[in-house]
Amino acid sequence: MNLKKTRIVFFVAVCSSLFSCGLPDTAFSIENNDDDTSATLFVEVAASAGLSFTHHNGNHGTYNFPEINGAGGALLDFDNDGDLDVYLVQSGHLPGTGTADNMLPRAANALYRNMLVPSGELIFEDVTAMTGTGNTGYGIGVATGDYDNDGDVDMYVMNVGDNIFYRNDDGVFTDVTDHTGTSIGVWSASGSFADYDQDGDLDLFVANYVDWQADAETPCQNNAGQRDYCAPVNYPALSDHLFRNNGDGTFTDVSKLAGISALSGPGLGVTAADFNADNQIDFYVANDQQANFLWLNRGDGVFVENGLRSGSAYNSRGVAEASMGVTAGDFDGDGDEDLFMTHLSSESNTLYINDGTGNFVDGTETANLGASSMRFTGFGSAWIDYDNDSLLDLFVANGSHMIVAERRNVSDFPYGQSNQLFRNIGGGRFTDMSNNAGPAMSAIEISRGAAFGDIDNDGDVDILVTNNNGPVRLLLNESGHTKHWLRLRLGGTRSPRDAQGARVAVFGRNNSTLWKRVHTDGSYASASDARVLFGLGADAPSDMGVQVQWPSGHTETFGQLQIDREHYLQEGTGSPGPLQNR
């Protein structure tokens, strides 16, 4: 018997060999690998920039399960003015859970307009009322996408209870939940817009969590017999929903037809990508304390769950971890989508490395991502190249799910932890930068959602972090723009207008290639910038070749694009167009 696959232990060697064959370290000049120096990599500016939002979870000592989960947020350019605005999901008092039911006003979600364009200043103004986006459900998550192909981004808001679909018409939103046929009255957490049937419009996958009822809540205790929040296994898990876009402003619930409703799982995160390289959009669902789902698209409207056999449902020890947030990206530069997901303390976060065919190996330990996450409960996360060195790094929003002993003395809601930043140092390995990244990364809070995008348009990725029962944070990247970058906004014609699902390749020297996917999904309960931002290192050529694999199926080359700026690439034109033409 001859083992063909030796990837786990020799991963470092394999990756080194790959990179030397032309991937990032030569092509995009990673000359600065020192991680010992302390620097302020991010600064926190939410309040000073006018983001005054504070999340309330409604806790009043009765430990109702939704309170511990928190809510997310979105970075989206709702007014098409060229900068990212901020949408924040509020929870508030949980109906049916006690005496405050009739005393508290219903807290609302909030939309903040970014005044960067045209003022040049990163200042936000609350436009919730004028845009009609202040839903008052017990909010959890938000997904974004231009479902009606009219050129502006729409939102699907997920609640414990009725979800809301907001259609954007020139910056004013209308509740079209009933009209679209996307009403779900259960606890939904994360959503993903993707054109799974390749008909040119965005369909919607909704990851649902558990069947929680206020009147059926049971008291739970931790191992010290202390009252604490229950685990998800105490509640029946729900199946997820898949809505097919009919192209006329309505959707059809195809959950049963597509096979999605056949399985139940406490879903918290979802991301869409072609995991097995068959040119079909698949869905990966991060389930909490149950096996994760990898829904492979057969191409005929039916999905087959292949998590177990793909090696991505359980970690390498066969443990179904408590997956919260999930992100897919090509961290090792081999052209396929690798998965990273966040978990409870006492479990590590987990890296599943794709072999290009949709089979995965757990590469957490060899990547040095295991031990450093054991003390933390992670939620929102994404592959980001925060230092623009062309390698995908990781940010993880942390906050405990159970009482943190050290926090009992200092907080009424003692669940706080610090967030983490892991730098990709090449060769498939990461180093924990959290202690060297400045005070913004070391704040002790109960972080949950995280959305990612270049909010100040300076060429590096910034991070919106939502805190459970606490203020929102905006982490501005202070270092990435010192290296070269390329930001691309894509516009579909045969593909969905916002081009979600498109794969973009940037060609460096020596035939090296960086791949990214247009998407807003992933993380936890949050939605990110649909633009793709490539870090190119300190020594990139002045222009770079770009190719797009559109969701419609065809591949298009856009020639050499000048770096350190944003370009608009419209399907079928073969050359960049004016940024206003969206």
Binding site: L3, Q221, G225, R309
Partner: protein
């Protein structure tokens, strides 16, 4: 798992050599001479279970009376460890280690807490120190080997696993750990090691998973699928390591969860009366724990105390919104009492509560067979297989039912379906298949099946079956020979 606490000279020498090597590479054994003790954290016990808080308070007072005694620090650390207050426990263990650097248990238990906290290098150092003091403590060696490999110290981890296997050739955790390492290194001998890990008496889900991934990686999808299926069935099961030091810690947990966990462990050890005591105490803390009533039905049933068992069934029914296991366990109780009609009724109730609960179909089949209703029993075994076509116990029961109805052809069909993947049950299935062949007058096939059964029984250490299988084989061979001799 029994382990040897005496020090064999050769192993002692090799373990000490490894520990010495680790001292150089990992700082093993360092950090214990520091005379400055870490500052103890204040223990805020507000909200803790009253019994737990009282227990910790009492030990805390003992510590306050003598804060530089290793015993008071260590005892408090163990209690905090038992209640998963790791960030507090680590400080008191550290103090105990510094105050009594020759004491194995403080170093070892501290290592376990450091693992929980993700402080891998410190955990390696603590376990190394523990093994310097007690080189042959098997659970410490297993955990250190695992940690070393997770930390990228492959040669040292491999050496530890190999030493363990010299002393305990069938130790599943060592077979599993070394098997995974070999596969990661591209050595196909890893597959054989993992197979041996799955052949142990106790189911080992993680080993099936690793084996499935190994088969997948070499393109053997049939074997991979079988192992994935076995993993699916056994994924939460693993062999016990047998760790008296850790068990002493766990036994200190007086919370409801601690009591239930202790009860489960005692039940697994066959200490039923002691287990019942723990479960009843857990119910005293929280009478709404329906699952505990369900376990108590079985436990009292094992002791033949049927009234007590039935009382818990009634109590459980009053509070459990999802009583499928209550009904099922009560059915098993009635079966044990040979009240077959009542048993069948309970199993039917379980099926009504959860039509996908396969065990209830099999149990209902058994109850019906016991009532002489073989045909109806077959219907329910078949239903079990409809819900889970790969359910081997259902296939085995169905085969047996056909045999009892003198239909060896149908029985053989069922037995053949459950022969793969091979595990400790396979020799029994082959034995049954041989019996079916005999019923069909197929002596050669019966002989082959028994030979195969013996081979697998030897491979999977089924010594309990071997003599019986060999006896059966001799009888079949003898009969076959006589038939050959008699033929013209």
């Amino acid at each position: 798992m029994a382990y040897n606490t005496t020090q064999h000279h050769s192993n002692y020498v090799s373990i000490m050599a490894l520990v010495a090597l680790l001292s150089i590479t990992s700082g093993c054994g360092s950090g214990t001479d520091d005379v400055v003790l870490p500052e103890p954290p204040a223990l805020v016990l507000e909200g803790f279970d009253t019994d737990v808080a009282t227990q910790i308070d009492k030990t805390y007072e003992q510590w306050k009376a003598n804060p530089r005694a290793p015993e008071t620090n260590g005892n408090l650390a163990m209690l905090l460890h038992a209640h998963q207050q790791y960030s507090w426990a680590t400080v008191y263990y550290q103090r105990a280690r510094q105050l009594a650097s020759g004491e194995f248990r403080w170093a070892y238990l501290h290592g376990l807490v450091l693992i929980q906290l993700g402080e891998r290098e410190a955990a390696i150092a603590a376990l190394c120190q523990a093994l310097e003091l007690t080189p042959n403590y098997m659970p410490a060696r297993v955990k250190l080997a695992m940690l070393l490999i997770d930390s990228g110290q492959f040669a040292e981890g491999q050496s530890l696993y190999e030493q363990l296997l010299k002393e305990w050739p069938d130790l599943p955790q060592a077979l599993y750990g070394l098997g995974r390492l070999k596969l990661q290194q591209g050595q196909d001998s890893g597959i054989a090691l993992l197979e041996r890990a799955t052949y142990g008496a106790a189911p080992y889900g993680a080993a099936h998973y690793a084996l499935a991934e190994a088969y997948r990686s070499i393109g053997n999808s049939t074997q991979a699928d079988m192992q994935f299926e076995l993993f699916r069935r056994r994924r939460n099961q693993e062999p016990l390591l047998g760790d008296p030091f850790l068990e002493t810690v766990k036994d200190m947990n007086e919370s409801k969860l601690g009591l239930i966990n202790r009860g489960q462990r005692l039940l697994g050890q066959g200490k039923i009366r002691n287990a019942i005591e723990q479960f009843e105490r857990a119910l005293d803390k929280d009478s709404s724990a329906a699952g505990t009533h369900s376990v108590l039905i079985s436990a009292y049933g094992m002791l033949g105390e049927y009234d007590q068992a039935e009382a818990h069934y009634r109590k459980g029914l009053a509070i459990d919104p999802d009583p499928v296991r209550l009904h099922n366990n009560f059915g098993v109780l009635r079966l044990k009492q040979q009240k077959h009609a009542d048993a069948a009724q309970a199993f039917r109730a379980a099926i009504a509560a959860d039509p996908d609960y396969v065990d209830a179909y099999i149990n209902l089949g058994a109850a019906l067979e016991s009532s002489g209703k073989g045909s109806e029993a077959i219907k329910y075994y078949r239903k079990a297989l409809e819900h889970d076509s790969a359910h081997r116990a259902a296939g085995f029961h169905l085969g047996n039912a056909y045999m009892r109805m003198n239909n060896p052809y149908r029985a053989a069909e069922q037995y053949q379906r459950i022969l793969e993947p091979q595990d400790r049950s396979t020799p029994e299935y082959l034995q049954a298949l041989a019996a079916a062949y005999l019923g069909m007058w197929k002596y050669a096939e019966a002989e082959a099946a028994l030979e195969n059964a013996i081979e697998i029984a030897e491979k999977t250490a089924r010594t309990d079956l071997l003599s019986k299988l060999k006896g059966s084989l001799e009888r079949v061979q003898s009969k076959r020979q006589s038939l050959t001799t008699e033929s013209p």
